[in-house]
């Protein structure tokens, strides 16, 4: 068995059986080993940012990591932005990055670069096997680290039983030529820790007390069990519950207790948290603004609010903590489960900010996976429009590195082939990883992408004003405007092998969305939005 076969077999032994790949010469032995192990599903991505984003989407839904196969430093570099998002989502990802043969490193050949330094910017765990005999052990360690709640920075993220971190295994090409040791069994990750009974009692006293309390929940707490516990607490004590603006994964819709997401803007959060005396963090971090603005605080907690860390955001069992808290303060209370999906009819009118979301909310199929990179267009409209849609999971833009949507949708569809995936995708962001559409076509994935085409980086217009730089003149506008020429996403998608249509009205969107959902394979709908 050579040094490429050992990691492959080790991954398969542990249950990692999908590899999002964009290989090169230094990874050819891995590619050859795939032919001998068809249990590993190799998924070709035509850009490394697609591979890493797909691995993120896959693991958010599958509850276990996928591998990526990346070519040297530049290949890893192309995947960094979506690994940043995965890191912020606490998604487990195992990167296998090929490197030059060890004898070749000192020659400083054209593709030589500092892979270790690039990997360290996004990885919790980076290792180079020192000999072919170490590859199996190091591969198992990479998976354990990716799944480990014990790794610094790797919190519990166990809707589906995982907690996640980014592992990067850098394998010199010559190790994969050499004879290696047999695959290694799973190294188990340390178990998640539980909060103490004393912590539960203290928090119970707080939420049952007279002062206004809110929970801020993240991670595994945003699955059905966590949300039910939070809702019991709310019903019994009046304690509000919030989640981050764009969580990694959030359960929503009919049958799922509702939770309010914090707004993107500080002003919105200030209103949401007004009057709250105690903010209790449950697997969440203290809320901060995405950016600093002149004269505004970066911490979003109002000055008079005390922050309590009930469940740390790393390595603790959020669901158990929330359930124990609910059992303590609301032993006989049941959660309120929103009733059956009813939506007012959506008037037929030109598409614009707001009304497209109502169409999606009305037509969302049960158990959809909604990948949300709608950014400006969805910011104040999507969650309300889908609040009592059919039950679904939403996967958010955790790290704010745009270009996540199309790849995450591909990965989620591979993880859950029986579920429809709906990707709500801002136009500007779509272009970063547009070739992910081809992977959706190659793999025949049931993804319906709705491009929200407002022909601009809309968020930047608002940001220019917020940083105190005033209104955009011609030069600034040229950097926000995605027109001149307008991008025709139907043509681009068709060119990538994804059937595409264009919708200009709510009726057209509704008809095209229903048709796309009813037809197997990927589809793209370009929703042309009129200025608000």
């Amino acid at each position: 068995m050579n040094g490429a076969e050992t990691p492959l077999r080790t991954l398969l032994n542990i249950g990692v059986d999908v590899c999002f790949a964009n290989p090169g010469t230094s990874e050819m032995q891995f590619v050859a080993a795939l032919d001998r192990h068809p249990a590993m599903r190799g998924v070709l991505c035509l850009f490394e940012g697609v591979a890493t984003g797909a691995a993120d989407g896959y693991a958010r839904m599958a509850g276990r990591p996928a591998a990526t196969l990346l070519h040297l430093g530049p290949g890893l570099a192309n995947g960094l932005a979506n690994l940043h998002n995965a890191r912020r989502a606490h998604t487990p990802v195992v990167n296998v990055v090929g490197d030059h043969a060890r004898s070749h490193k000192e020659l400083d050949s054209p593709l030589e670069s500092d892979i270790d330094a690039a990997a360290a910017t996004v990885s919790h765990w980076v290792r180079r096997p020192q000999t072919a005999a170490h590859i199996g052990r190091d591969t198992a360690a990479a998976v354990a680290a990716a799944m480990s709640a014990g790794v610094p920075g790797a919190p519990d993220r166990s809707h589906t039983g995982t907690s996640g971190a980014i592992s990067t295994l850098i394998v010199a090409a010559d190790l994969s030529w050499e004879e290696s040791a047999p695959p290694v069994p799973h190294l188990s990750a340390p178990p998640r820790r539980c909060v103490t009974r004393a912590d539960v009692e203290t928090t119970a006293a707080l939420v049952a007390g007279a002062e206004h309390v809110a929970l801020l929940i993240d991670g595994a707490g945003l699955g059905e069990r966590g949300l039910q516990a939070a809702d019991r607490i709310r019903k019994a004590t009046g304690t509000a519950a919030f989640c981050p603006t764009w969580p990694a994964r959030l359960r929503r819709g009919v049958g799922v207790p509702a939770i309010q997401s914090l707004g993107y803007r500080a002003e919105t959060v200030n209103q949401q948290l007004a009057g709250i005396k105690h903010l209790v963090l449950v697997g969440a971090r203290e809320p901060v603004a995405s950016f600093a603005y002149p004269g505004r605080p970066g911490l979003l907690t109002p000055p008079g609010t005390r922050v309590h860390r009930f469940v740390p955001d790393e390595g603790f069992d959020v669901i158990d903590a929330l359930s124990e808290l609910a059992d303590t303060v609301a032993p006989d209370t049941l959660a309120v489960l929103p009733a059956q999906d009813t939506h007012p009819p959506v008037a037929d009118e030109p598409l614009r900010t707001g009304n497209w979301a109502k169409v999606i909310g009305a037509l969302l199929p049960p158990e959809a996976i909604v990948v949300d990179e709608s950014i400006t267009e969805g910011m104040n409209t999507l969650f309300s429009a889908t609040a009592n849609a059919a039950p679904h999971d939403v996967l958010g833009l955790t790290g704010l590195a745009i270009g996540q949507g199309i790849p995450v949708a591909a990965g989620a569809a591979i993880a859950c082939p029986e579920r429809p995936v709906v990707c709500l995708q801002a136009d500007g962001s779509a272009l970063y990883t547009i070739s992910g559409l081809w992977t959706q076509a190659r793999e025949k994935l049931d993804v319906t992408t709705v491009i929200l085409n407002n022909r601009s980086y809309a968020i930047l217009r608002a940001e220019l004003d917020r940083v105190g730089a005033g209104q955009a003149g011609p030069a600034a506008n040229a950097l926000f405007d995605l027109g001149r020429p307008d991008i025709d996403f139907t043509a681009v998608a068709t060119g990538m092998g994804v059937p595409a249509t264009r919708a200009a009205s709510t009726a057209e969107l509704a008809e095209q969305f229903s048709t796309a959902l009813a037809t197997p394979g990927p589809h793209l709908i370009e929703a042309i939005l009129q200025p608000a």
Copy 2:
């Protein structure tokens, strides 16, 4: 003047007047400052790899750096692969990367990452201005470092008078809000150094001696003056002259003495250098294989060949050294200038490896800039087919990080609006930075892109065998094959605003290529290549 205006005015004072930009919130003050300084041309790129590749292409042709404007760590990360290529091309680039306000850093907000570490993987010079008062000085230092032959790793690259390195200036958002100092005048770069008379005499004795000698020339030596000197030396002494496989910039065609480029494969280089007793490096580095292969050496110099470093590849004046050597050994010899462009007629037949290049060679217009990312398709055919084409410059894939062609073509066209740009682009590589086509359309650039569509990562099939992994089975083939579905580049290009046609025969390619060159603005021709 605020801290965004100072660097802008400093750049303009120094003559840096093009900025390839993909900004975000942390760069909004720079964007606003563009409105007050229309002399700075802001060019919107829809992905950061397009911005950095365009900056590379611009500087290779303009002889002075462009700036890039990138958003935080993930924005820089997306630009790293083409900065790697620029670094390997010794191109001067000045990156301006916005960062969060200093007060915001400790909050670890969603986009926070280690920008400095990512920047260091590709940059010769990285600095963060510590106060707004330092921004002007640090901006001038960034440009001086980018242009400096004195920076470690920054060799002379002065076809057009520049030598190049990558500078990255990381500017905290709050510095750009604050009051700053006036712009700073140019800090001059240290002059290039000259080889000694003794070095010239030693080398002259070698090339005039009885043993076979070859020059390996790179950098500024590959412009017209350097090639003429090399040809005089050849004519007088029989000394062969070679250049790297894919140099950053090489002058070729009618009126320009020919030089042989080293092959990509070690076997080819072994044949080329067979019998050479002395290899003299002239602004070049010792040739190495791009990858290691089992049982093959990484150094390409044959065992019996002695290597002499006549002109170091960093900081020395290559043109002067070559000219002085020519004046010593060939004082009365004139270079051989290839005669007028004559091409045998190309038979009308289906396009395949080899014949497309003959069409390009026959129809290449005078003073074309040829951006060569043809990889497998051009490897053994392009240079012979264009050897006596009209005079032109070729820009090569220096760092082997694919996805350079379309952006470099955009940058070169902005640097040289009066010259036609021809981008010979492999299909797989094109998809990495495909949105660069939109920038070509937005800026109305005279770029003719020929997609060499062989529907595969053709180079990888060969590499699988070369690393000893044998023939590809179904799983490996799935990772090399760009079909299922076929990508329709005419649709993709049209969607990006670039008119596109498809050619299946040499006659169709010839007709479409001529039409594209005769029509202003960008065009794309998808050349469908039959298997050889």
